[in-house]
């Protein structure tokens, strides 16, 4: 393995991988949010009802429970060209089904580390907790996250 990566790494280095910025298309970033029905989706709703201004780049996917959010959904989004992926669910202790998010947070933590291992910068993936009543927190989370992704610009993923 070490040798395989060795050869190919030097090969990649000499072909001069273009950084995500240079030559990348100039367009608003696309961010996918994967949220659980009971907390974060409702939290986004609360933010909407409260008329808190939110970035328009975010597309939400509603999932029945945080425990149903497979880390592979995030990787699939990257494969399909998302510039950033945000995962959000109920705070620990608040899961509608009692324990979905306790399982989920173990998986998300591993997913986050593996996503970085693939060369996707930390700014492009985040997972957090937002409850149904935290409209303001939702606004803060998405505004900051989308701003971070926008700073890196549209993603020119070569592998995934």
């Amino acid at each position: 393995m070490a040798e395989a990566t060795n050869n190919q790494a030097s090969g990649a280095a000499t072909t001069g991988a273009a950084p995500g910025g240079a030559g990348a298309p100039d367009r608003p970033v696309k961010v996918v949010g994967i949220v659980c029905n009971w907390c974060s989706y409702a939290g986004a709703d609360t933010a909407g009802v409260g008329r808190f201004k939110q970035p328009a780049n975010l597309r939400l996917i509603r999932v029945p429970c945080t425990g149903r959010i497979d880390p592979l959904f995030a990787l699939k989004a990257f494969e399909k060209g998302a510039d950033g992926v945000l995962i959000s669910g109920c705070h620990p202790g608040d899961c509608h089904y009692s324990e979905g998010n306790y399982y989920a947070r173990r998986k998300f933590e591993l997913a986050e580390r593996m996503i970085h291992h693939l060369g996707i910068p930390p700014e492009r993936f985040k997972w957090t907790w937002v409850s149904a009543s935290e409209g303001q927190r939702w606004q803060k989370v998405v505004t900051e996250f989308v701003a971070g992704v926008q700073k890196l610009g549209p993603r020119e993923g070569k592998a995934l």
Binding site: A2, T5, A18, R105, R106, M114, I120, K158, A159
Partner: protein, 323 residues
């Protein structure tokens, strides 16, 4: 008595006593430098079984879904240290029936990386011998012979092996190997350092290059002893479709990430997938990293204790992940 003699004796006895319907071990392949899995049903045939540092196949893969038929057959099999961890992982989740197994543990001193060896010679290898412990003697078709230190041509995982002795077995083939002090020496992932030091863009370009050649043959998944869904595999499913049938670097890497996530907590980095891949994709680059992070998160090593559950099947209220 050599380990090989022990294996033959255990196999012959188990077959004679009808303790097993068949016994799975290793035998010589089409030439003297290649070992292949052997299925023995007749005690008289037990002497075809061999043991040497070329016996890399993880035989646990043959029992992962109670195959082959008949479904109620009692099966004997040999396991090395790393193989036994995949067996323990299956037992932890009740994926195989302990009562139908007869396990011969084979303490292991390291397995030779045949691909590494092949790349060292310009001519085809016709014979690999082991004149003494720790030495490998290679003969090629061109008549060249060379003696090498086994340590220099071992599989990448063998150098820092923490479990050379099987963790689960009914009988052991000969004396145990010397084990590292596992309290003192933590797992070693130095093989990952070079990749980890690369920049994000170089990593992406490198992965694109590596995964461009995957032909989606599924060998890595079929050979993996702990990848157990078979025809329910989401990698094959078109409805729902997670992984496109298209073969390209992105799809191929996603395909491999499915495998990786689905064996997280069970995979002990046995390396069977690496060795099965016909295009030499360094799959260990993902699996070793996954195990490194799992160890960092939970202090957990997959397939070590029978009474443990894999970390992603349980949770702890005291987990400190997330904000």
């Amino acid at each position: 008595m050599s380990r090989q003699d022990h294996i033959r004796e255990f196999a012959a006895n188990a077959l004679t006593e009808k303790r097993v319907d068949y016994f799975i071990g290793w035998k010589q392949g089409y030439n003297s430098s290649e070992m292949i899995p052997a299925f023995v049903t007749d005690p008289a045939e037990a002497d075809q079984l061999v043991w040497n540092p070329l016996c890399h196949h993880n035989l646990v893969t043959f029992i992962k879904r109670n195959m082959p038929e008949p479904a109620d057959a009692k099966v004997g099999l040999c396991v090395k240290g790393c193989d036994s961890r995949t067996l323990v992982a299956l037992l932890q989740e009740g994926l195989v029936d302990k009562d139908r197994l007869y396990v011969v543990g084979v303490p292991c001193d390291g397995i030779v990386d045949r691909r590494k060896l092949e790349k060292m010679f310009s001519s085809e290898i016709t014979e690999i011998e082991f004149p003494e412990r720790g030495k490998v003697k290679v003969t090629t078709r061109a008549g060249e012979t060379k003696e090498l230190d086994q340590k220099d041509v071992e599989l990448i995982g063998c150098a820092h092996c923490r479990y050379p002795n099987p963790l689960y077995s009914d009988n052991t083939a000969g004396p145990l190997e010397k084990e590292p002090d596992r309290e003192e020496t933590k797992p070693d992932w130095s093989a990952l350092e070079q990749y980890e030091s690369l920049s994000d863009d170089v990593k992406q370009a490198l992965l694109e290059k590596i995964y461009a050649t995957c032909i989606r043959c599924f060998a890595c998944i079929h050979v993996c002893p702990v990848c157990v869904c078979w025809d329910k595999c989401v990698n094959r499913s078109r409805q729902p479709e997670l992984v496109s049938q298209k073969v390209g670097p992105k799809e191929n890497l996603l395909f491999q990430m499915v495998h990786m996530f689905h064996v997280a907590g069970r995979c002990p980095s046995c390396g069977a997938c690496d060795r099965a891949c016909p295009v030499e994709i360094p799959l260990g680059l993902l699996h070793a990293k996954m195990n490194k992070e799992i160890y960092d998160m939970f202090g957990f090593e997959p397939g070590v204790k029978l009474d443990e559950k894999p970390v992603f099947q349980v949770f702890d209220l005291k987990d400190q992940f997330g904000d």
